[in-house]
């Protein structure tokens, strides 16, 4: 045992100063960029905590996972990891000791990254300050707490292997596909999960739910959630957190701040090209709310919402979200709409758009019935096609949010 520790120490000495000396500035910068494309910082940083030091509690349907420290602190971080260890984690979902990592860590996506890119991420992380921070134990029920279960999961849902370009498509499309399906791991939020928590491949990027948010359909082709967004508008959204339609809010706001805001216009353009190529299913017209609900909803909207979203639902481009045609409003899952009305929402401030324009909370002001009415109204107006919202649905979200506080 002792010799193992000594060996580990030797390896660490070999790995760290070596890495620091050998890594050119260019290599670290390359790593910084790739790290941004993979959005590592978002999950591996606690609110108000040091970057990459972990500790964030990720709520999953199966329990709470606490993200690990991925700074190069030896005792609490990954300071003793070699490049091979690191690559094995991203490519095969195995920790340094060989144990299986939970797929909340998106190795099913990172496996698509080429070795050189993974090494660059390693070099970048190695260049950063080391933070000593212990990880909290996951709060997972048995048998999920038994990591060997993950092996079974992997057999069923995990396909290791680097991204392979489609020669029939343009290099730009392939770059976009790589970023979206690989490091960007968009499906992590925007794809519905099956009972085992794996992506439902038939519903790829057609919307998912996590932590009491509904992540919308982001397919940009026919019938897709972003069908009405131009490629340039997708780029603007990812780069500035804002476009003529809407702004990035809490979760997507983080992604913009630590990831897409850092990316080049060319890469964002590639993402837009790829997303615009993805068609979606046509949706049947939703049922209409009753006239009484529409009437109340219209009154509530006019008295509370029009000051920003305008009485005709057109919003103010780049300032207040347009509700007519809104992707969030038309989502079959009304969770996000209800939540935003209940507790407000803030457009993420970015370097290009520093104003954190925010919608105020209405949870103290409107009853569940009233929120259901106004949500039903906006989902059924101005050409929108969202099913009516019930007071019980509002109550559910309200309870879930209250429980979190």
């Amino acid at each position: 045992m002792r010799s193992l520790i000594v060996l580990a120490g030797v390896l660490t000495i070999w790995a760290q100063p070596g890495a620091a000396q050998q890594n050119s500035h260019a290599q670290v910068e390359r790593g910084r960029y790739i790290t941004a494309t993979a959005n590592c910082q978002s999950c591996h940083t606690e609110a108000g905590g040091e970057a990459f030091a972990g500790g964030r509690a990720m709520e999953t349907p199966f329990g709470t996972i606490h993200t690990p420290n991925i700074t190069f602190d030896e005792a609490t971080g990954i300071g003793r990891w070699s490049k091979d260890d690191f690559h094995r984690a991203l490519h095969h979902g195995r920790s340094r000791d060989g144990s299986r990592l939970y797929p909340a860590f998106p190795y099913p996506h990172f496996t698509k990254m080429p070795r050189a890119d993974v090494d660059a991420v390693y070099d970048y992380l190695a260049s950063r300050p080391r933070v000593s921070k212990e990880r909290k134990e996951h709060e997972l029920p048995f048998p999920l707490s038994w990591r060997r279960m993950v092996g079974i999961w992997n057999m069923m849902f995990f396909e290791p292997g680097e991204f392979r370009a489609d020669p029939a498509r343009s290099p730009e499309w392939n770059r976009g596909a790589y970023l979206v399906e690989g490091p960007g791991h968009c499906a992590g939020c925007h794809t519905e999960k099956n009972l085992a928590g794996a992506d439902n491949k038939d519903r790829h990027l057609m919307g998912g739910q996590l932590e009491n948010w509904a992540a919308p359909n982001i397919r940009g082709g026919r019938n897709g959630g972003l069908e009405h967004w131009s490629a340039a508008e997708i780029v603007a959204f990812l780069k500035t957190g804002r476009n003529a339609h809407t702004g990035a809010l809490t979760r997507m706001g983080e992604v913009v701040n630590v990831s897409t805001e850092e990316m080049t216009e060319a890469d964002l353009g590639a993402i837009a090209t790829y997303l615009k190529s993805l068609d979606s299913e046509a949706r049947a017209p939703s049922s209409r709310p009753s006239e009484a609900v529409l009437k109340a909803g219209r009154a509530i909207y006019f008295d509370n919402c029009s000051a920003c979203h305008v009485s005709t639902g057109v919003g103010v481009p780049h300032v207040f979200a347009r509700l007519a045609g809104s992707n969030k409003l038309n989502d079959p899952d009304p969770t996000t709409v209800i939540r935003i009305i209940l507790e407000g929402a803030r457009a993420v401030p970015t370097a290009a758009r520093p104003s954190p324009l925010s919608m105020p909370a209405f949870g103290w002001k409107l009853t569940d019935d009233q929120i259901a009415s106004v949500a039903s109204y906006v989902r059924a107006s101005w050409g929108n096609n969202g099913a009516p919202v019930t007071a019980a649905q509002v109550e559910d979200v309200r309870s879930a949010l209250t429980a979190r506080r």
Partner: protein
């Protein structure tokens, strides 16, 4: 008392001038700390659309303003009286909390006239020596010097208006009397309503040149040069005395803070009140400030540069409490701190219609048409017995019923007749107002009260103020002009609200208190020099309307902000290179 690590700059107060200074000096690479006695406030949480339209809470229960229970000032009309505390705010409403009074202002954003900055020399030259007791003086800075800084502030805020003088060329539709502008306003004017149209028509019939009032309420969505965004005004009628719930009124929050708060070299402390400015043994250098947090902990905050950015009354009082400069004594004429306290002289005429609805609730803080023929020295004052003037305007700011329920002449104050008059006229009335200048007199001044103390046991400010002979003559003249326009607006009747009797500290007039730390050309006539730098303590600068030697016939914010930019520019380009007096005395 805990001694804190030194910073480059400490700002006392965090409203408009604090935010401007912080933005400018952090850009210069300095470590800046702002200390604000009120709390953090922001649009979506503290005055969102969901709570903003609430007359009782914000205005009548004064939640938007400085808390009188901790500190107020004492007031008397003249030195023969005993000053008594203003137990609640009345005639003016100082702000408290982040953004200061800039959260609850109307947004009427003017530039003073070129002649206003040289009021003493200009009027003396044209009309001979000033009357006995009048202590008007020149600012020491000219309109031309301030022009780029006016322009910066207008672009920061997205002011909507129509230029009347572009680089010396008079432009139709704007104010032909304004100083030459380097650029058009960044946004078009507000959308005028029925009352403004009546005013404009009447004014034109009188041969006057009506123009849209310059507005910090957004006439359209706007992104300022810092990249900060403002939204279009929705004409909700809850502007002045209220925070704006939908980002459509320029304030520190909506123009600067989104950029400033991100900077690593800026820090804001709230619920901390500065008790005094500390000086070294020579008394010629400020070493920092003493401040106390709401929990009662005292701190010593060293700084290389101290800048007072609080309200005019607070800046003046802090100078007095810190023993910087000599307090003005009207009996002897000695001393300068507290001298030349001025205000604003308002008169108006109300117009009542029979069958026309003015619908005053469709309003905004700076929704108005104005004329400027009777402002400053835009007209010949020979034989009139006063100098200065004011703009005349029809603003439709609100129809908030507790505050604004006009009744015709002869209506009782209560009972069925009052109720009927209110009901009949509430939606069918408007008013024309004059926004008159206030010239400094030796008798009007600020000093420390000998009796009353604030919550920390420090003396309250004492205000000795009454309207002056100049004010009364000017008010009578302005009332006639206002009446003439009001009569031409097609109403059934008008009611004149003139300015007779002594100044009353209770009915709301304006929060345009000026003077006390006046600027000027020599240490013998002023507290600060033309760069707003203390003559006595060169690493101390004083912002705000306290530096106005006298007040002009306009709302002061535009000029206050231009002076702040001007001072910041002097600090950046001159003071930092060679710290010391920027003007040799």
């Amino acid at each position: 008392m805990k001694k804190l690590p030194a910073v480059d700059v400490v700002l006392v107060g965090f409203g408009w001038t604090g935010a401007i200074m912080a933005q400018e000096l952090t850009e210069a690479g300095l470590q800046v700390l702002a200390i604000e006695r009120g709390d953090w406030r922001d649009t979506p949480t503290h005055f969102p659309t969901t709570t903003a339209p609430d007359e009782l809470r914000w205005y009548w229960r004064k939640e938007m303003f400085q808390n009188n229970s901790r500190e107020t000032l004492t007031f008397r009309n003249n030195r023969g009286q005993t000053a008594l505390p203003m137990r609640r705010w009345g005639s003016f409403l100082p702000g408290e909390g982040v953004g200061g009074g800039g959260v609850h202002w109307n947004g009427q954003t003017w530039r003073f006239l070129p002649s206003d900055f040289v009021a003493a020399s200009h009027n003396t030259e044209r009309y001979g020596s000033l009357p006995e007791g009048m202590t008007v003086q020149d600012y020491g800075v000219t309109y031309d010097e301030l022009e780029p800084h006016f322009d910066r502030f207008e672009k920061l805020c997205g002011i909507g208006g129509k230029a009347g003088n572009l680089g010396g060329t008079i432009v139709a539709g704007g104010n032909p009397f304004e100083g030459p502008r380097s650029a058009e306003y960044p946004n078009p004017p507000m959308h005028m309503t029925f009352s403004q149209n009546q005013f404009a028509r009447s004014a034109r019939e009188l041969g006057l040149n009506p123009f849209p009032g310059p507005s910090a309420n957004m006439s359209r969505a706007y992104t300022n040069p810092l990249g900060v965004q403002l939204a279009p005004c929705s004409y909700c009628g809850f502007c002045e005395k209220y925070g704006c719930g939908n980002y459509s009124k320029a304030s520190a929050q909506t123009t600067i803070l989104p950029v400033l708060m991100r900077k690593p070299n800026f820090t804001l402390k709230v619920q901390n009140e500065v008790l005094s400015i500390q000086k070294d043994s020579t008394g010629r250098r400020a070493t920092g400030v003493i401040h106390v947090d709401i929990d009662g902990n005292e701190y010593e905050q060293p700084a290389d540069l101290v800048i007072l950015c609080a309200y005019q009354l607070s800046n003046t009082r802090l100078m007095m409490l810190s023993g910087i400069g000599e307090i003005y004594n009207p009996a002897t004429g000695e001393g300068l701190v507290g001298k030349n306290y001025c205000y604003q002289v308002m008169t108006s005429a109300q117009v009542f219609y029979d069958d026309k609805y003015t619908n005053g609730f469709v309003g905004a803080g700076a929704l108005g048409m104005c004329v400027d023929e009777y402002n400053g020295d835009n007209f010949d004052h020979s034989g009139l017995g006063f100098i200065g003037g004011g703009y005349l305007a029809n603003w439709t700011t609100n129809a908030r019923p507790i505050e604004t329920h006009r009744t015709p002449e002869g209506t009782p104050n209560w009972g069925s007749a009052w109720k009927k008059a209110v009901a009949d006229n509430f939606l069918k009335s408007t008013s024309v107002g004059a926004h008159g200048a206030s010239m400094a007199y030796a008798t009007n001044a600020l000093d420390l009260d000998p009796t009353y103390k604030d919550v920390y046991g420090r003396p309250l400010m004492r205000m000795t103020y009454d309207f002056t002979p100049n004010d009364r003559a000017m008010a009578a003249f302005m009332t006639e002009r206002v009446t003439a326009i009001a009569k031409g607006m097609g109403g059934r009747e008008i009611k004149i609200e003139d300015r007779s009797g002594p100044y009353d500290s209770m009915p709301y007039q304006t929060t345009h208190n000026t003077g006390g730390t006046i600027m000027g050309t020599t240490p013998a006539n002023s507290v600060v020099n033309r760069y707003l730098q203390s003559w006595d303590v060169p690493n101390l600068f004083v912002m705000g309307a306290g530096v106005f030697p006298q007040n002009a016939g306009y709302n002061p914010t535009g000029t206050v902000a231009a002076l702040a930019y001007w001072a910041a520019d002097a600090i950046r380009t001159q003071y930092l290179r060679a710290p010391g007096p920027l003007v040799q005395s």
